[in-house]
Point group: C2
Chain length 344, copies 2
């Protein structure tokens, strides 16, 4: 997992520093970030998930020590942000049953890391961490609040309200992929949990691929017919749409439509000012006609359903940080906890 990047020289950075440690199914990103959101050190290591949680966290804590020592930062990193995939129990600091980490179910990851590195840890869901990253140094940095929707295998969500994440009482906050957008009796079923009509079945890469295959089976005309079924992915739909394939273009438009419906509900709940779309839908971003068309479709449906003053006060845009958003958000939330401890 080679990763070459230009980092901010320590001498121009602002102490104290914060660790953002983003644990995923295949890799762990570790970033040491200053109080203004500049990354001063970065390392990506393999998760080696099959060896179990404690082995990985032991390697993480060794890297923490080594990197702090080699940079001369011992004692200058007072707080750590740790992220992992859900479902998890944020209060108990453990992983419940993340599908990407089958051997880690029930692992008390926070206590284990804390024992090894001996400092306070803030523990977050990885999607919420990414939202805080975009909020702190990415697409949301001009707003007091922000909603991130990540379109990938599922639809992940992360919500920042006035600098505070919505983590939820049951560690289920910001699961925006599971809002109901389609109330019809034949609405699509959600892959996770089987709920009917939930946004994830309409706006995830998985949902788009399933719908494309279904239409091909039903006999709809399309150049995608040339591909074997398993290669009819959301990326393939995007590429076909770029070449003007009608069924593919319709799927792009429908995905945008349902996102517009869902974003209306979310904005009327949260009024975040900025909605950032991240992840791997592969609709090509701002610089290609399908990406533009996709974003325009979302904005139009939102405009049709919202109030003028809310529309005027809400930006919808693509994310800017990519997969770095996670560790940056973790470091940022560690900084926030360190600076303004949560209390009631």
């Amino acid at each position: 997992m080679p990763d070459t990047r230009e980092l901010t020289p320590i001498e121009h950075s602002k102490a104290p520093y914060y660790w953002g440690i983003d644990v995923g199914g295949t890799g762990i990103k570790m970033g040491l970030v200053d109080s203004e959101g500049q990354t001063v050190a970065f390392e990506a290591i393999q998760t080696l998930a099959d060896d179990g949680g404690p082995a990985a966290i032991e390697r993480v804590s060794k890297h923490v020590s080594l990197m702090e020592e080699s940079l001369g930062l011992k004692g200058q990193v007072p707080y750590v942000g740790l992220g992992a995939p859900g479902p998890m129990d944020l209060r108990l600091g453990l992983l419940v049953e993340p599908p990407q980490l089958p051997k880690w179910h029930g692992y008390g990851i926070v206590e284990d890391l804390q024992k090894r590195i001996e400092r306070p840890i803030i523990f977050l869901n990885d999607a919420n961490a990414a939202a805080y990253g975009e909020f702190w140094v990415g697409g949301g940095r001009t707003s007091a609040s922000m909603l991130l929707l990540t379109l990938g295998t599922g639809v992940g969500g992360g919500i920042v309200n006035d600098n505070q994440l919505i983590n939820g009482v049951n560690s289920f906050g910001s699961e925006c992929g599971h809002i109901v957008v389609d109330s019809r009796d034949d609405a699509r079923l959600c892959g996770w949990g089987g709920g009917r009509g939930q946004l994830e079945a309409y706006a995830s890469a998985t949902g788009v691929a399933i719908e494309a295959r279904k239409r091909l089976e039903e006999g709809v005309e399309s150049t995608l017919r040339e591909l074997p079924s398993e290669r009819v992915t959301s990326k393939a739909v995007y590429l076909a749409a770029l070449k003007g394939d009608q069924m593919a273009v319709e799927l792009v438009d429908e995905t945008a439509y349902w996102l517009g419906v869902g974003i209306t509900s979310l904005v009327h709940t949260l009024d975040p000012g900025v909605v950032v779309l991240g992840g791997a839908m592969n609709f090509g971003g701002l610089h290609d006609p399908i990406g533009q068309r996709f974003l325009r479709g979302i904005v139009e449906e939102f405009k049709r359903r919202t109030f003028e003053q809310v529309f005027e006060g809400t930006k919808i845009e693509f994310a800017t940080l990519g997969s770095d958003a996670g560790f940056l958000g973790l470091a940022g939330y560690a900084r926030r906890e360190h600076t303004f401890p949560t209390s009631i």
Copy 2:
């Protein structure tokens, strides 16, 4: 507007005290509340809305002085919570165009009150204030977060996430009545703004009455047919349902169904742990069979659409504070601002 109540004697209360001042279209509730949520003084005065905002706020500030003086609390009330109906601009501290206060449009209510009583003021939407009241001393007081839905002329919402309200970047936060629950082409239209399929058209007293009249016009059998059209209100539907009228019972069940859909989306966004239903739907609360049936219908639809662990960790219940929730929440949020000043 006589209001007799037993108040907490000052000698048993906890200083400092906070004002909660809840401005409505017909009345203004003023409560002096201690730091544990006990009301030590209360007065309800008429708004006399036609005399304009400054006249009302002048009377409010006189009552503030008089009450503090007579209770010997001068200097012991460091912060004030002020609530009003939206739409408003929370940052500029002004009313935009509240329909209940037609002569107050554009009135800079916060600056005016501040000039007169010379202390910091936190300014909130009245529905959000009520949510914080229920959170602080009512149905949500055992949870770190809470969602309040108020079913009345419209559907008001108020969200507390980890002791912080969702007020929104455009002063439009927690407007949960405007989430989309029905995606069908013939979905009901919202009275305010005309959006299609929004919760308010299904779960407000107004929405229920409109639907009942529509069905009567279409020839549906019902005892409500005996009433003149303008007396077919949501209260009349409730009373007919109590007596077993089939159309009325169906309307109660459908209202519960759509609330169940909406609450699913809201809980999957917020994971608040507690959902509190307040307001004037007049379904009779917990102690009559229709109130019970209504609540059971909501819970069943939510259960059908959510995840087991989320269902287990979420209570849905009726509000306990009634119309006092507003001033209590305002005093409580003033206390919160005084104790933990907001900062980024």
